[in-house]
Amino acid sequence: MRDDTITTTAKNPSLLRRFKDSHLWHSLKKDKVAFASFLVFILFVSVAILAPVLAPFDPYDPSSIDIMDSELPPVWQEDSEAKFLLGTDAQGRDLLSTILYGMRTSLLIGICAVLLQCFLGVVVGLSAGYFGGRIDSFLMRIADIQLSFSTLMVAIVVLAVFQASFGAELYSKLAVFMLILVIGFAEWPQYARTVRASVLAEKHKEYVDAARVMGFTNSRIMLGHILPNTLSPLLVISTVQIANAIISEASLSFLGLGMPVSQPSLGSLISSGFEYIFSGSWWITAIPGLVLVVLVMVINLLGDWLRDVLNPKLYKD
Amino acid sequence: MSFLEVKNLEVSFNLRGKSLKALQNISFDLERGERLGIVGESGAGKSVAAFAILNLISRPGKITAGEVLLDGQDLSKLSPQEMRKIRGNKVSMIFQDPMMTLNPVFTIGTQMIECLKAHRKISKSNAVKIAIQKLKLVQIPSPEMRMNQYPHELSGGMKQRIIIAIALLMDPALIIADEPTTALDVTIQAEIMALLLDLCESNNVALILITHDLGVVSQVTQKTIVMYAGRIIEQGPTNEIINDAQHPYTQGLINALPQQTLPGEKLNQIRGSMPSLQDIPSGCSFNPRCDFVLDICTKQRPEFTQSGGCSVACHMVKAMKDAEKGHSAYE
């Protein structure tokens, strides 16, 4: 994200300025909790992006792993080794490096899955709201049915079936894409309903009629005129959804249906450490667990803050 | 001592550490069976005044000064328990929008009986009897059936009649009606107003009628208060205020009535709009909109001047009175 801001400001120097002058930035500075969450989030994202540079070891490289180093505790405990700051896991991998890479995977899956949800939801919501009639009721009925299934349930079933039919070998190669697809496809209805509600509210306003009279195409009216009005609810939903997607990914990985142990996400790290807490090696589970909770919590706190500040009309039943 | 005496009532709202005065210096009297109208544009503080009498100002607002004496008892100093015994009993209230006032998940009967039970020991069958009798009083057809109906099954006019019936349950001495007809169809407005007036007259109930409609005030009330930006700017007998308004704002309100213009002519409007509580102008709060603004109006808040039966807070009126007095003294 840091890299992002730099490149975009280089292209468009006024953007950073505009953000700094905005209402959003001012209220962020005033709200201590939100500001702290923002800083932590930026820190996590940058560390995740820079993991290959920052991590002392490469957990994907089997040659750097020595099984003799397994289950070493963090440095502040007895029997630790200085080069493994947070200790090692059951396979002898440096926990700090694994966590950095794991966070990278978790964030990647979370953000991409939400982008997919958002894309699907916006397309469905825009068409349902704009065209109305049969298309609308058909799409919304599908959304209702989709909502009545729990995301986790759908994800577990789909992933379990894929794993059973592809075999664990091939599956582990495709895991990232599968997780993004499954979590992305399971949660679009919320976006669709919100976008549809905004479209219905905007549809009959004069500027839309004006655009139509001027001969703009449907897609141009929807994308250029109606969509910008739905941005703030979308932003609020997306924040919460990223947090949820990260939790879903972790849960699936914990069940052995997500990322394989060789390319761990935070969830599979926690899972791989679970059996060792009974023998006292708490850190293999606890430290990635703590990172996961803090990551999800700052995103949730940012979401709460955004909802208070933007106060959008979210879809409500 | 009057039945109701409101003295220097002040209500403040605390917003982010800043205290905003929604109501200042409100004083008036009301006798038993007397009817008072409070008029003004929306945002003038009429509803706040109504709620303040019943000590129903919700957080972050509260009564910060003054007294509300009902039969000599200061309502603003009562404990919540004691205040509860007054509400719905000696003083009841009618709200603006009947669609929103009744709880959608309870039957009419439940909402009537609970009010009776809150104020006196009464058996259910007796409560039902009284409720039905009150429903008859407000001319509701087949009242027994209505008792088991839910609000969404009734029309707006019917709901407002039921709300009036609820207000009458404990035979109150005072009813506060906050824009009781605004949310209704025009055809039903007059019916409901006539019913309310008739009920107050025949039961000797005092009425505080809050409205922005001077026409209604002239038909129903004996006294009128005109409010602007949280303050009283003119008060007195209704007929004097309607026929011989002194304050430029009151004159503006009267000129804005459709009856004051010929068909096809443009309605007279008061230019500008009511200031928000955050930026009330110094001096007379009406000065930016006033056609007769004097130098002093922007600097000093006007005191009340007697003019006939009315008190008026206006520098221009005071100046004219002083000139008259000076003139007669000179003679």
Binding site: L152, V161, A164, I247, I277, N300, L301 | L56, F106
Partner: protein
């Protein structure tokens, strides 16, 4: 009532149809039933004959209808692993899962309503601030992590509570095995139920608080104050009933979600329920068992949603269940 039921049944039928179609395609594509039945040592010609005999060469639709017909009679095939009818295997594990869900639901109701209501009435009190703080942490901790943490604290470190299994159970109503009627069973239930409840609890506290605060601002609540009603009646009758309407709707969806989360808690606590069995079946590619699980869970979804809709209709007078007019 009739219109409502028809609408409901129609929706339920669609959902069950989708689930059965899904289940059938899983069964169709996953694993080779012949190999499971007869092993590898049969000649190619015999295989073809058997395929024909078993109807495996029929069209997809014919096969689906045969599957659906059997499914309606309760025949979902035989589990490869247990060599017993799949539906029976699943139903045997159903009580354990339902007790988990029931226990968690009770915990959620008992805790979230008082906490949500109190913090809506006193939004600036210390208690509500602490409750809100804890619930934002609660939302951010995944179920399996809550489960692991509670095992670590209460079983490994303190040794107060058992960390796995159902403990002692008793038979009631003939076949139903329950852990509710003895201390050991209840102790075993405590941690799994708490973990399962932990993800929903903050959600419901926040929801109830938000809805209640909105209701307390409404005109009918102001009118209730003006009628001189007691605060207790206003809060717990007038406001609470209106608050619960949207909460019931959300609750219906969340019960379904909770069934999914039992897979997680049952895995961590090695709870011998359907979810645990399902994951084992996935690892063993025991297709009939996977299909049976999907159908049973689908039925649970449909039934709970219908019940929740009925309750909603009974609580909310603006929904007409009984066609009177």
């Amino acid at each position: 009532m009739i219109a409502f039921l028809i609408n409901r049944l129609f929706q339920a039928a669609i959902v069950m149809f989708v689930i059965s179609l899904l289940s059938f395609s899983i069964q169709d594509n996953l694993g080779d039933p012949l190999r499971e039945l007869i092993g590898q040592s049969v000649s190619e010609a015999d295989r073809m004959e058997l395929r024909e005999e078993l109807g495996l060469n029929d069209s997809f639709l014919t096969q689906y209808f045969r599957f659906a017909g059997k499914a309606i009679q309760g025949d979902l095939g035989t589990s490869y692993f247990f060599k017993e009818p799949a539906l029976e295997v699943i139903l045997k594990k159903l009580p354990a899962t339902l007790e988990l869900v029931f226990g968690a639901t009770v915990l959620i109701i008992v805790i979230s309503i008082p906490v949500g209501v109190y913090s809506a009435i006193n939004p600036s009190s210390l208690f509500s601030k602490v409750a809100m703080g804890i619930s934002i942490i609660g939302i951010s901790v995944p179920v399996f992590l809550t489960a692991i943490i509670s095992i670590y604290i209460f079983s490994v470190e303190l040794g107060w509570l058992p960390s796995f299994g159902r403990g002692v159970t008793e038979h009631v109503f003939g076949t139903w095995e329950t852990g509710f009627f003895n201390v050991d069973g209840l102790l075993h239930l405590l941690l799994p139920c708490l973990s399962l409840a932990s993800i929903m609890l903050p959600l419901f506290i926040r929801l109830i608080r938000a809805e209640m605060m909105e209701v307390l601002q409404s005109e009918y609540i102001k009118f209730a104050w003006a009628k001189g009603l007691s605060p207790r009646r206003i809060w717990f009758m007038h406001a609470l009933k209106n608050t619960m309407l949207p909460v019931i709707t959300v609750g219906g969806v969340q019960i379904g979600t909770m069934v999914a989360y039992t897979i997680l808690t049952e895995t961590v606590f090695q709870w011998p329920g359907m979810g645990f069995l399902f994951l084992e079946a996935v690892n063993r590619v025991d297709t009939p068992l996977i299909v049976a699980y999907l159908i049973v869970v689908g039925a649970i979804f449909v039934i709970t949603n219908t019940i929740v809709d009925l309750i909603y209709g009974l609580v909310n007078p603006t929904v007409k269940l009984v066609g009177e007019k």
